[in-house]
């Protein structure tokens, strides 16, 4: 059973690489590989250390502040990252105003404000609970 799953997995991987290689005119294997490895490098060497740094800095705070703040920062950062290409809106085109039609900086500010407000409320509540409990 295990070896069957290994074989299927290995076959899928091989098929994927074969596809990339066989459509080289469309997939540009060299730059594809660069993006593949590059995204890991950016995550492991830049994004993750930044998160560790944020963890260390917020670690200086009292627990009742620290936990909600970390959660709020994480949600804010991840939401921003997940929608960043839209927010930056470099894909806009003159001939087609229906592409990226909204005011994204405004949208992001609203989303971040809601996250910040929620974080604040939760941290006040958790402080109160910590005091009374």
């Amino acid at each position: 059973m295990k070896w069957l799953a290994y074989s299927i997995g290995a076959a899928a991987i091989a098929y994927g690489f074969y596809g990339i290689a066989s459509q080289a005119d469309k997939t540009h294997p060299f730059s594809w590989l660069l993006w593949l490895a590059g995204s890991v490098a950016v995550h492991d060497a830049l994004l993750a250390p930044l998160v560790l740094l944020a963890g260390a800095v917020t670690g200086l705070l009292k627990e009742s502040f620290r936990t909600p703040l970390r959660a709020g920062l994480a949600v804010a950062a991840v939401t921003t990252l997940a929608t960043l290409p839209t927010v930056l809106a470099f894909g806009r085109r003159k001939d087609n105003p229906s592409i990226l039609p909204l005011d994204y900086p405004r949208g992001l500010l609203i989303v971040l404000a809601v996250i910040a407000a929620t974080t604040l409320i939760v941290s006040v509540l958790s402080r109160r609970r910590a005091r009374s409990g």
Binding site: A5, G9, I13, G91, S98
Partner: protein, 374 residues
Amino acid sequence: MALDLSSRFTSKLHSERVAAQLGVWLGISFTIAFVTGLFSHFMQHPPGWLLWPSRPVNLYRFTQGLHVIGGVATIPLLLAKLWTVYPKLWQWPPFRSMGHAAERGLVALLVAGSLFQVVTGVTNIAYWYVWPFAFTNAHYWTAYILIGALLIHVVNEWAKVKRHALPTRVKLPSEPPADARSRRRFLATVATASGIAALVTVGETYKPLSRLALLAPRSPDKGPQGLPVNRSAAAAGIEVHADYRLTVTGAVGRQLSFTYDDLLNLPQHTVRLPIACVEGWSYDAEWTGVRLKDLMRTAGADRDATLSVESLQKYGAYSVSEVRPPHWHDPLTLLAVKVNGETLHPDHGYPVRLIAPNRPGVMQTKWVTKVTVS
């Protein structure tokens, strides 16, 4: 063991249990993305024997919305999972054996494939083409690599999943209450981030939530005639001349040729159908025009004929689309001349566009000038 940095990570959230629980969610998300992605691919490139049904009308709209919005919502899961297991990156010695080296290589491939898919995916839906490769080809082939690496990873980690993340999990020494609380809080935070990412984008395909779609690349009521488009008439190089004709040709009993006014004088039908884009956005509209089925009957086309619908467009990859029997037999399939009661805007395909149920937007050919029967 000064070299073993992995022991310097003190948070209890870098645990096997958190990794296993996030892993289950992530495994489900990736499987959904893979299946819906294949569905979209084979709808656009069906092998000869494959006849997709034309119903349910909103099937493709649903699966592609799930693919794209689900993909966006997967990003918090993926980042949380990578954070949880990050200390393992620094384990020492890096490779204990050949088997361990192979396993780590596979994990590297899995991580790379996952990041590649979400990065290219969210960048593509924002129409930001920062790489030289064709998105569809690269995203499609990488999906096989990712799903293969995921399958092997799941097999390797199955014991941990069983221990921590299945309802049937074996009895573990009970977790200190503070740890359990912090683990649950962490998972709830991840779920919140996923929920927000979905909530601020899903309105581009689900209209009741369109006011919340603050960070969606599309808005279902912004565009010419209040409807979004992917390729404008200008971008496609469209010129409609006075001698415009719609012709029906190929394996037919008799060839047909219509002027625009001829088409307006044929029996008109109005249907409510969605445009469902591969990029995940969609909208409903009322389309009015001639039933493709009626035209084929007039032309005397064979019942199992395949139609090729050709556009006036000079630029772009989607100037021709194939319509197989289940779709052209469907009474909802029209060559439309109006949308929501108005003559089609050039960007929506004036003079005539194809509109059919359960079909990707790129195959709803605009600026139609020729139907070839074969």
